[in-house]
């Protein structure tokens, strides 16, 4: 059953560029009644700070970022995705991301773009999460082709997404970012497809 979300649960975003007097409004405004089983969760992390770094692959900034296209790493509290050639996404707390970004060598042509408000971010976690992704995305989610730490872009339920596999304590876990405007649609589509696994929404 579709329900409206109580807004109290929404975090205040602290993106480096855009600060407001009120809470950050997540694009997720409706969800479903939770299941009793809890093997699989879909968590709305849209308020998490996201910063795009654009720099040449052979730049000093790239070396500091420390990952290439297709992989990710965690530096302190910052999750660094090599999400496209010459393009990285920093995900984390606002202060942490700002500090890390500020430490990057700016020589050459380097751009920092606050993407917090442009992209919604979900975390899909639990053993069946790979099974769920297999239903909505054509990529090979097996360990050989998409190991922990892998980053890729793909169409998920027909929405263009950037996805980082980021296992938690050995449990399969994926962070999925999409255009904010598609967020509610995608959230619903994932919950719908995850019904058979007993998916729970966390908003």
């Amino acid at each position: 059953m579709r329900i409206s979300i109580r807004k109290e649960s929404v975090f205040v975003a602290d993106s480096p560029t855009f600060r407001g007097p009120t809470r950050f409004e997540s694009p997720i405004v409706a969800s479903y009644m939770p299941h009793s089983r809890e093997p699989l969760t879909l968590t709305d992390e849209s308020s998490t700070t996201k910063l795009i770094v654009r720099a040449a692959d052979d730049s000093d900034a790239a070396a500091q970022l420390g990952v290439g296209f297709g992989s990710s790493r965690v530096a302190g509290n910052v999750h660094i995705w090599g999400q496209r050639p010459t393009e990285w996404l920093l995900v984390g707390g606002g202060e942490d991301v700002a500090t890390f970004a500020g430490s990057l060598d700016q020589s050459g042509h380097v751009s920092l773009i606050d993407h917090t408000h442009s992209r919604a971010l979900f975390r899909l976690q639990g053993a069946p999460s790979t099974d769920l992704l297999e239903k909505v995305c054509g990529l090979d989610w097996g360990d050989a082709m998409t190991p922990d730490g892998a980053v890729t872009s793909a169409s998920v339920a027909k929405v263009g997404c950037d996805i980082a596999r980021h296992d938690q304590d050995g449990v399969a876990s994926y962070r999925i970012a999409c255009d904010r405007s598609f967020a509610q649609y995608l959230f619903d589509a994932l919950l719908d497809a995850g019904e058979e696994f007993g998916i729970n929404a966390v908003v």
């Binding site: 407001g20 992989s71 773009i113 408000h117 297999e134």
Partner: protein, 953 residues
């Protein structure tokens, strides 16, 4: 009348039966309630209940009974509830199932169309091409009659869309077919380390072993448990329906617990094709009578379902399966007369009344009484999946069947499709195939991982491609038996006989493709599985050629028909919304779909929204405007390339309008771009052009000018865009922002950044599509709703109200602003828009420059003009044609039209021929009802405030 499961045709428990006699299932057939056992197919249950006539044939409406009693049975189509064309030889009975015969009128027992059979010899194949031509007026009536002959079940248009699902998998090996070869291939591949999916069309693994000996069934049991241990995913009641490019394999899973059907799309590294063989019917007089069956049908019915198919049988046998059928029949007490084709014996006709066989006429003239005629005359190799992989099968006269023709690297065949042999030989071939598949899959996996950035790195060289060193299966000699000396049915579902094929060949339809098209043989639901080889054989006979010379047709996907529901699966249709959408919904906005966007068209009264905006202040959510963040020292170069006008000297803090053209000079998009900082710009595009223009810009950057330093980032939905328009907009925005709005310091076509309603770093620019003083605010979307609500709250006393897309359309039309794609079309070049001053041919280069140079000289191109009808109450519908007075000669068309609440009259934009584009020219417009009205070309594009005083105020 109800028949109990212990009717005379249900025999004692058989050692290999798959029914559960402890569970009785109730269903109905043709309105009569019946029972069967769990595990029964509709066919076995009907046979057990003594039902022999299942359907009527398509053309002659002849009574038909089961021929193969499996999925491919051409006579076994039934309606199950709202499900038409159900294969009764395959579908299991369920409690409460309503099963109805199809293609009968008025009833299965008395079918008036059977009269067609009497005139059958006049209704030769393709007869309809030769008649019903005169009188021409009557053809539509004939057509209606023909349409009543359409075979098949009935669609209930209220059928609900049940849950269907899809899944993508990337296994190492997919094995199509769970007989002995397929099972052993799957097991061997899994034991060699491959990830394997085994797909079996039937409800049980084992193939023909299921109706074999106890030892055969022990083999099945062994494999079933070994496969499970080895981690093979076994999909029962599932069909590999197609093999597409790069081993993209479609599997229709009918056994999913939740989804009625699930389409699995497997990117298989290796596909193993092991479908076994399909038994071929024999062509002779009366071969479609109820009571004529193939040996496989008889063996299935007896051994799997404990059903006795007849009491007195004639068996025409040419092979071991025929012999085994004889043994099965004799074991259950059926009196059998054997006709052994290997000894030169044969049959020429099955005789009897319409609905049954009572005797068989032997080739030697003898007549043998019987109620069952069984033929076992050979096999067809279902090479369909191989055809889809590029193979053309080759006929082998010694074995009397087709075999795969070429080796395909990633598609391997095993089992009956490639040869015969004893069970251990077949299993051994399967094992060799499985190991080969695993080896090759490992090489493919290595290559994929090495080639994919995100994958787990692989080390070392790619494993060598394992050559195919499998030993070949022997081919058993088999007599070539296709047609007796009499004529019979070749295609049961299409009612095409061998005589029709002879006739068609004589008429010149003498290639296999032409004869198929002319007679429709092989075009029916079995798609040639039973019919193709007999069609080819009869054609070869008619032409006096060999089967190999005639060749075969191409088997096209799907291998087995698949429902539209399964193909559709979950239907994903993404929609987008702005951050303000919850407010729009709460406030009863009437939604409109614009591309993928859901937007407010209006909030009740668009005209009132226009008036309020012109008089007070209105706000509109324009978030779908495409927005690109551009950074870098070379942005001006990129802008100069994309737009037709100049961009090298745009000052920081300014906004400029630009027009984009494709290389053929056709208008592609338009919008404004602001310079926010030294090397930081924000470009807007039309909503529908957002994705296209981003790709277009990247194309110039990546392919033509990789040396330019520009970073493009789409921020369309990151920034919620609100246009605040109207004479009181300055006052309203001023109450919420720290930006200095003084007209001297923040002029028309300028941009500033600052806080709005407490949200930092918002972007505001002064532009106006509506023609009013207006500020377009771009605020971070996480705070978009807050800013929107703040504006409404802060401006209550100013009369602020939201307005929707329709009000904006009206206001832009009042101002004469064109919309790309509405007032321009796929051939409109930039000079036609009247914006020639924006085309700067003195720039070194820009997209479309060369073509625009010539287009500027074109004196024939249409021109976009503003038009007003003489009678202002008339609003010509958009797309109304503009014609030369007194003629039907088209001179142009109305591209936009609305009643203007501001002017109290209609206003239009249109495209007209250049010779009628001068201001003041009188035009004739054809209205929707065919009447004509007069109109004039206006002096300015803007119907309202042509000097733009309000805008600049």
């Amino acid at each position: 009348m109800s028949t109990s499961p212990s009717s005379p045709t249900r025999i004692d428990a058989q050692p290999g039966e798959v029914i559960d006699r402890s569970t009785t299932i109730r269903f109905s057939w043709n309105g009569t309630s019946m029972t069967g056992f769990a595990g029964d197919t509709i066919a076995s249950a009907l046979m057990a209940n003594g039902v022999r006539v299942i359907s009527r044939s398509m053309k002659y409406h002849r009574p038909r009974g089961y021929l193969t009693a499996d999925f491919w049975d051409p006579n076994g189509f039934v309606q199950v509830g709202d499900d038409p064309n159900v294969r009764s030889g395959h579908r299991l009975i369920e409690n409460g199932m309503d099963v109805e015969p199809q293609n009968v009128w008025p009833s299965l027992d008395h079918d008036v169309k059977a009269a067609n059979g009497l005139v059958g010899r006049f209704l030769t194949a393709g007869f309809y091409y030769k008649t019903f031509m005169r009188p021409a007026k009557l053809w539509p009536q004939f057509e209606k009659v023909l349409a009543t002959f359409a075979p098949g079940g009935t669609v209930d248009l209220d059928t609900p869309h049940r849950l269907h699902d899809k899944r993508y998998i990337h296994p190492d090996v997919v094995v199509a077919g769970g007989g002995p070869a397929g099972m052993s291939a799957a097991l061997a591949a899994a034991e060699a380390g491959a990830q394997v999916v085994l797909v079996e069309h039937e409800h049980h693994l084992g193939g023909h072993l299921l109706w074999g000996s106890d030892a055969d069934r022990a083999v099945v049991a062994h494999f079933a448990s070994a496969l499970e241990k080895a981690g093979v995913e076994v999909l029962l009641n599932s069909t590999v329906t197609g093999r597409y490019e790069d081993n993209w394999v479609a599997i229709n899973q009918r056994s999913h617990p939740l989804a009625v059907e699930r389409l699995i799309k497997a990117r298989a590294k290796i596909l193993v094709v092991a479908p076994g063989l399909i038994e071929r019917p024999y062509v002779f007089a009366g071969n479609d009578k109820p009571g004529v069956m193939l040996s496989g049908a008889v063996r299935r019915l007896i051994n799997l379902y404990g059903v006795k198919p007849g009491s007195k049988a004639v068996v025409l046998t040419a092979n071991a399966d025929g012999d085994a059928t004889i043994a099965d029949l004799e074991r259950i007490g059926v009196d059998v007369h054997v006709v052994d084709a290997r000894k030169g014996e044969g049959i020429v006709a099955a005789d009897g009344p319409a609905k049954s066989v009572t005797s068989v006429e032997g080739a030697d003239g003898t007549k043998i009484d019987c109620d069952l005629l069984v033929t076992a005359i050979g096999w067809t190799a279902p090479t369909s999946l191989l055809n889809m992989s590029g193979d053309r099968p080759v006929y082998d006269p010694q074995t009397a069947r087709f075999f795969p023709g070429v080796d395909i690297d990633n598609v391997l065949s095993t089992g009956g499709i490639v040869g015969d042999g004893m069970l251990d030989e077949v299993i051994d071939h399967g094992q060799q195939t499985g190991r080969l598949a695993a080896d090759r899959a490992a090489a493919v996996a290595h290559r994929l991982q090495a080639f994919t950035a995100r994958a787990t790195p692989v080390h070392g060289d790619e494993p060598e491609w394992t050559p195919d060193r499998r030993s070949e299966l022997p081919r058993d000699a088999h007599p070539e038996l296709f047609r007796s000396s009499t004529h019979g049915i070749v295609d049961f579902s299409e009612d095409v006989g061998s005589k029709d094929l002879f006739g068609a060949a004589a008429e010149g339809f003498d290639s296999v493709e032409l004869i198929k098209r002319f007679t429709t043989a092989t075009m029916g639901p079995a798609q040639g599985k039973l019919e193709t080889v007999n069609t080819v054989a009869v054609l070869a006979e008619a032409r006096g050629e060999t089967i190999a010379e005639v060749g075969t047709t191409v088997w096209r996907p799907p291998y087995a028909p698949i429902t539209l529901g399964a193909l559709a699966g979950r239907i994903f249709e993404p929609v987008r919304v702005s951050s303000i959408q919850p407010w729009h919904e709460r406030n009863d906005a009437v939604p409109i779909l614009a591309g993928a966007w859901i937007r407010p068209e209006h909030y009740g009264d668009a005209a009132a929204e226009v008036r309020n905006t012109r008089e007070n202040v209105g706000i509109i959510d324009v978030t779908p405007l495409g927005k690109l963040d551009l950074r870098g020292p070379d942005v001006p170069k990129l802008l100069s390339m994309l737009y037709t006008n100049k961009w090298m000297k745009l000052p920081v803090g300014s906004v400029r309008y630009g027009l984009m053209c494709a290389e053929d000079g056709v208008v592609l998009d338009d919008g404004v771009t602001a310079r926010l900082g030294e090397e930081h710009y924000l470009m807007t595009t039309t909503s529908s052009g957002a994705a296209t223009i981003w790709e277009w810009a990247e194309n110039w950057l990546q392919t033509e000018h990789p040396e330019w330093q520009v970073h493009i980032t789409p921020v369309t939905t990151g920034l919620t865009s609100i246009n605040v328009a109207g004479p009181k907009s300055r006052e309203l925005v001023g109450r919420l922002t720290d930006i200095d709005l003084d007209p001297q310091s923040f002029e028309y076509m300028q941009v500033r950044t600052g806080s709005v309603a407490g949200v930092e770093n918002c972007i505001a620019w002064r532009i106006g599509f509506t023609g009013e003083l207006s500020y377009e605010l771009h605020v971070p979307s996480g705070h978009g709703l807050h800013v929107w609500e703040s504006l409404l709250e802060a401006g209550t006393d100013l009369g602020v109200k939201p307005f929707g897309l329709e009000a904006q359309r009206i206001m832009r039309l009042e101002k004469g602003h064109f919309i790309v794609g509405q007032d321009t079309d796929g051939l409109t070049k930039a000079p036609s828009t009247g914006m020639s001053s924006l085309i700067k041919l003195d720039k070194d280069d820009f997209a479309g420059k060369a073509e625009l140079g010539w287009a500027m000289e074109d004196v024939e191109a249409p021109i976009v003009v503003s038009i007003q009808t003489s009678d202002g109450t008339i609003v010509p519908r958009e797309a109304s044609q503009i014609v030369k007075a007194g003629t039907n000669e088209i001179l142009g068309r109305i591209t936009s039209s609305r009643m203007s609440p501001t002017l109290g009259r209609s206003v239009c934009l249109g495209q007209v021929a250049p010779h009628v584009s001068a201001p003041g020219t009188e035009l004739t417009i054809v209205l929707a009802d065919g009447t004509r009205t007069q109109a004039n070309v206006m002096e300015h594009h803007a119907h309202f405030d042509p000097e733009g005083e309000r805008l600049r105020g």
